[in-house]
Amino acid sequence: MQGAACRSDTMDSRLLHDLNAALPRDGAQQSVLHEPEDLMLYEYDGSVELARPDGVVFPRTATQVVEIVKIANRHNVSLIGRGAGTGLSGGALARRGGIIVSFARMNQILEVDTANQRARVQPGVVNADLSLAVEHLGLHFAPDPSSQKACTIGGNVSENAGGPHTLAYGVTTNHVLAIEVVLPTGEIVHLGSSALDPPGYDLAGLFVGSEGTFGLITEITVKLTRLPETIKTLLAAFDSVDDATETVVEITARGITPAACEMMDGWTIRAVEDYVHAGFPLDSAAILLIEVDGLQEAAESQAAQVAEVCRLHRAREVRVAKDSRERDLLWKGRKNAFGAVGRLSPTYYTQDGVIPRTKLPQTLRRISDIGRQYGFEIGNIFHAGDGNLHPIILFDARDKQQFQNAVAAAGDIIAFCVEVGGAITGEHGVGMEKDHLMPLLFSEADMALMQRVRDAFNPAQMLNPGKIFPSKSCGEIHVRPQHTGSGSRSRA
């Protein structure tokens, strides 16, 4: 177990007593978990990492969160905030042990302000639930990670989550106005404001994407976005991966901004089609799923331009979804892709890298070379429009050599992303998966300042210790294989 060397295995009885006193049972539901069989559920997230916490608590109010923080201070244990546990970089895992603070029961939409297109929510509100709740008002919450039916807005804020439609609408940080946070001192502070340009530094902007290392979120004010009048979803099939990537390059270069521009390569298409029956052409080398939206007059002309670029790059078929049923089916194919992959390989490792859009063709070729070099099948299904890659490396974790090679191949891919001017993670976060890759991008001075910034919020690393920055203690394996028995956990 990771981090085991740094902590004891059972929860201190005085700590347990204090937590139980602060968090009374909720009807039949326990508010404090500490039995090993209960904790097993919290030792993983959507990533390939594992770490078992010493306990899990379920606050219902900000006051209870403050109490938990005070107790943690008294007993010198760390706290790790957690939403739905769908994260992909180990952000919500107790790497060094400690207590997980689950926000699953702080899941109320507190206010929908239609006039100002804002909503005030508790951190445990599920992303898709907010959009559903405001759909009748013609509004939605724009960030849409593939895990949106399970992931929480608190988790989205912590990780600065993305999703397919962030291409036109922006990622989580572009939609967060204010955050209520409990600091490790037990202080409640309010960052940002519902009105724009509040006085002072942009602390809300700094906080979004801090991966749980600054504070525990107890409330969030987000922007709601008007649903578009018209949505056009195009499916373009290509006989070569290069044609598909060149199409994306030219769409970007022409200044067309689709709402989404997703790519799937041939291997992934076949895996998905077999499972979802979305109507993807089975013998194509790559497909693009491109969505344009807005006023009808704008969407139609954009769709025509997109189709033209696809044909220019030898698309053998460009299909427009006839109705919302066809559209939903295409998106079901995209969003369930990882579940489909899970049926084909005992284990797989999903990477998240980002590159300048102009470098797509050469990067895809390089990924394919890396696969050949290590003898792996590598599938690609990703947010092509913003250069956010998700190569999926398929391997058999029972074979130690294969496991090591998979990790090495992933490292080579990310190193190449950085080499062409990209970054080590586009939307999954650094967490405990990529802390050792931070030096690829950042100097000692960069990381030293970042750590001092963290210390301004969280000086003793009481919150989410051992994340983001390369660790110097508690030597661990950085990556463990994912077992995908159910294939039900969704990914971005």
Binding site: D113, N116, G162, T166, G170, T173, N174, E187, I188, V189, H190, L191, S194, A195, L196, D197, P198, P199, G200, Y201, D202, L203, G205, L206, G209, R226, P228, V249, T252, G255, G294, L295, E297, A298, S301, V354, P356, T358, H383, D386, G387, G422, T425, E427, G429, V430, K434, M438, L441, F442, A445, D446, M447, L449, M450, R452, V453, A456, F457, I468
Partner: protein, 476 residues
Amino acid sequence: MYDLNTLAPVPVPVPDPQSATAAVSVASRLGEILGAANVFTDPADLSSFAIEGTVPAAVARPRAAEEVAALVKFAAAEKLAIVPCGARTKMSMGMPPRQYDIAVDMTRINRILAYDPDDLTLSVEPGLPLRELAAALTQRHQFLPLAVPFFDRATIGGTIASGVDSPLRQFYGTARDYTLGMEFVTGDGALVKSGGRVVKNVSGYDMHKLMIGSFGTLGIITKINLRTFPLPEMTRTYLATFDDAAGACEFRHAIARSFLRPQSLEIIAAGGAPSAAHLLAPFASERDWCVVISVAGNALVLGRSRRELESMSRQGEHPARDFTELAPADERKILPLLREFPGGAPRSNLPSALLKISALPSDLQVVAEAISRLAAEQQVSWTLLMRGVGIVYLSLAAADASAESSLRLAAACDAISSRCNGRQWDSAAFLWRSRESGSKTNAWAPVRDDISLIHRLKNTFDPANIFAPGRFVGGV
């Protein structure tokens, strides 16, 4: 020289002999770092870097980020206060620094380091004038949505560091939404970076967001990475006039409920003393509440937008009196007026002040009505520009040059700022304030419960407290 508050000539301060000696030693040490030719100490040169009458001992003109780092290390060791600047168009915004020894003129660090039009990304140095940057982007049919005050003179660095906004934020958001990464020098002389030059990135903390609008109190920006935007196919601007704030605000709300997504939406009004002239004169008469909307798209989109905007403007309890599409020549006159208004250039020689107010869009009408009432009570003239997103710029001017009118202006400033700062979400700050309009002890909105974090972060970035000390919110 001119006082940036009043644009009135002021006498050049004469440094006392003791500080003159100190200035010589500061200058000679800086000369060792930058080369003597790159350090100015001539009083005539220094005076143009004055902030509210305080002149620095020297002006440093570094040519590279490494030189900036070296001079900051020296300043930190000597506890010399630094104010970084570009074209110096916004030096008077915020509080005057408590100490001011070295002006760091960044205008020679001014290259476009990388421009990848096909990726719509850009990396620039801070001293680059916005005008030049815009020209380079226009060649590739791209732009940055920074239609900001002092557009003809300002640098990209000063624009980002001061956080001034643009009418185009209605559609494109602000710099925080399209800044991808930065490199900057912190108060210990370290050259650091955050973010990158890709449009989606969660690697490390977004420290560059702190730099936006921090007025040089956390670090000196040496590189800015931005995403660029394709120029729209066509744009049109429409002007609707209403009798009152209610009509203008109702129109704003109707547009927000529609499928239209304008590039900009501003409400403009004026009132008060008879001398008050409408910002949009001669396109509007003195009592008009004008709504100016810009729309982008293809011919079909523009045609439909025009039809729907006009129809919305004529509906409701307070319909528009007029709805017109601006002729290109008129558009070219009006848009720069709207762009420059938040810069606060005085529109007359009378004592005046400019406030920036943050409000919820649904409160715009009550804010406008409160302003017009409080201004009327003190007989001051006012000009109001309200962005549809809830940002309000208010220019107040005394009725005449008399002492009594100045007192009334000061009273109106205090009444309006305390009224706006007394409400839950709203805040009001003085972007500038001429001396006659009252003291500048409260330029910023009152601090909130995040003030301890603000102090801790200031100390993290600038432990020696040498970057424009006291200029920003909460005295940092």
